[in-house]
Structure formats: C-alpha cells, structure tokens
C-alpha cells in the first residue's frame, strides 16, 4: 500500500523533517520517493529504516555528488530520492544506528552550506523588497507597494530561518571548544 503526504518543510528545519520521516518509519510507513512538498510512503515494518537527509554542495547529478552518493551507498545505505540539492538516505536500523555525521566539524560544515544558501535567498528577497519600496516612493503604483510588502514579509521569514541556523551553528562551535 502506498500513501502520499503533502507537507512543507523549510530548509532550516531539515532536522524536524528528518524526525518526522523517522516517526513515519516507526509507524510502519517507509519513505520511497520525494518531490516538491510531496512524500510517498510504502507500508513496511515499523522502524525498519532510519532516514537521514543532507544538503549537498552541488545538484545530485553533478559528478561530485554522484561520487558521494555512491560512497554512502557502498556503506550499506540507500539513496531514496533527491530534491534540488537535498538528498534522502536510509539504512536498515541496526544496533549502531545510522548517521551521516559523527563529529562536530562535519555538522558545522553541513550547516554552513545551508546558511550560505539561505543567506543568499534572504539577500535577494530583501533587495527586491527595497527596490519595490523605492519604486513606490518615486512613482507610487499599487503594484510596487504590494510587491514590496510581500518581499519584506517573506524576507522576515527567511531571516528567521537564517538566525535559527546561525544559532544552531554557534551552539556547535561552543561545544567544539570542549570536545570534537
């Protein structure tokens, strides 16, 4: 039996997304495909797989990503699907669990990649917002003020995500002072 669930997760809440996928797995629903806000599950054994997601530095078709995905697969994990630069892996639950990162450094590096992307989008949206606002100030036009307000609201949301990721990274960096 298959089940499709439409759900939206932001890039900065990928850990929440991961938790949700693992909760679904515990209930016996195993992710088999991903699309835009679209998750396909197949009925399986409860807790059969552990899911992990990661944002790669390149699109999944890029040779470097292909090489990386193959490396992960060779360690006994499965590549369930990809969405833009995000890849979804799973591995049969075993006594050692399944993680993509085992030290603080690689976690920080992963967060950095997401931070750069979220920061870039934040910058673009913010600049567009300012542009529309300036256009409205000089020419009026309802279109400009509406677009400007939309950009600023979206920008605020993304800004929240950026701060969230940044604080997460700061916590890890503090921990790194004491241990790896």
């Amino acid at each position: 039996m298959k089940m499709i669930i439409h759900k939206l997760f932001w890039a900065w809440s990928f850990e929440k997304e991961e938790r949700w996928l693992n909760e679904m797995s515990n209930k016996g629903w195993q992710l088999s495909d991903v699309g835009v806000c679209r998750y396909t599950f197949e009925e399986g054994l409860p807790g059969e797989y552990v899911y992990r997601l990661e944002m790669l530095n390149n699109l999944p078709k890029h040779p470097e990503s292909v090489h990386y995905i193959r490396f992960i697969e060779d360690t006994g994990a499965e590549h369930v699907g990809s969405l833009l630069r995000w890849v979804y892996f799973r591995k049969k639950a075993g006594e050692n669990g399944f993680d993509l990162f085992s030290d603080i450094d690689s976690r920080i590096k992963h967060l950095n990649g997401i931070l750069v992307l979220v920061g870039f989008v934040f910058g673009v949206i913010l600049l567009s917002g300012i542009y529309y606002m300036l256009a409205w100030l000089s020419h009026g036009a309802q279109f400009n003020i509406v677009s400007g307000i939309i950009c600023l609201i979206v920008g605020l949301g993304i800004g929240y995500g950026f701060v969230h990721l940044f604080l997460q990274k700061r916590r890890l960096e503090k921990e790194k002072i004491l241990h790896e």
Binding site: E54, Y68, R70, F71, I72, D74, T75, G76, A77, N96, G97, D99, L100, F101, S102, D103, D105, S106, K109, H110, E180
Partner: protein, 117 residues
C-alpha cells in the same frame, strides 16, 4: 625526541583522522575503514559515512593517504596510508604518549594522595 616545531603539522589530529590513518596501514575501502575503526576502538568509535568521506577527501588532498588504482574492476575504491601519513600518525602517537604520561602522573598521583588521607 622532544623537538617542537610550531607548524600546523603539530596540531592534534582529530580522533576520526587518527583512527582512519591507523586503519589504512593496510588498504581498505570506505566501509572497511568504518568496520576497522569500530573494531580497533572495541565499538566505541563509529565513523559516520559523510564524516568519513570528508576526512578522506582532505587526507587525499594533503597526501597523507592515496587511492589505490582500482583492482578487479571493483567500483569500491581502496585507500592506503602514505609515508607522510605514517609520519603524521607517529607524531600523534608521541603527543598522545605525552598526554597519557602526564595524566597518569597527575590524576593517578592525586588519587594516591587521597588514598593516604
């Protein structure tokens, strides 16, 4: 042997890097390294695949390990430590020895005083 060079090369290795270097004294592929490190540490250290991949890329770049030319058209690449990598592992070993000796002197010395009181 207590020369001190203040270069990057004398900074402590991470646990992951140290154990990867030890594992690669004989050639292994990625999954083999994970298993070997778990064995060596009696199951304490489990390298995650993504972390291992990042460490291998850096070690290759630095020339501390090499990728062996593919044998028997297997798609899994094998890696091995280089002489430079062995030197790094040896440096780390003497650093660890110093940590261990000082720890024993001070921590176990203190315990000894407590026992007397």
């Amino acid at each position: 042997m207590t020369e001190v060079h203040m270069t990057n090369e004398n900074i402590a290795l991470t646990e992951a890097v140290y154990y990867i270097l030890l594992a690669l004294y004989s050639p292994l592929h990625g999954y083999g390294i994970m298993q070997k490190v778990a064995d060596l540490s009696s199951g304490r250290v489990h390298l995650a695949a993504g972390t291992l991949y990042g460490a291998l890329s850096t070690l290759l770049e630095k020339g501390w390990i090499v990728a062996l030319p593919g044998e028997r058209n297997s798609r899994k690449k094998e890696y091995e430590i280089t002489p430079l990598g062995k030197r790094m592992a040896m440096n780390e070993l003497s650093r660890l020895r110093e940590l261990l000796e000082n720890g024993e002197k001070i921590i176990e010395g203190r315990k000894y005083e407590n026992d007397n009181s």
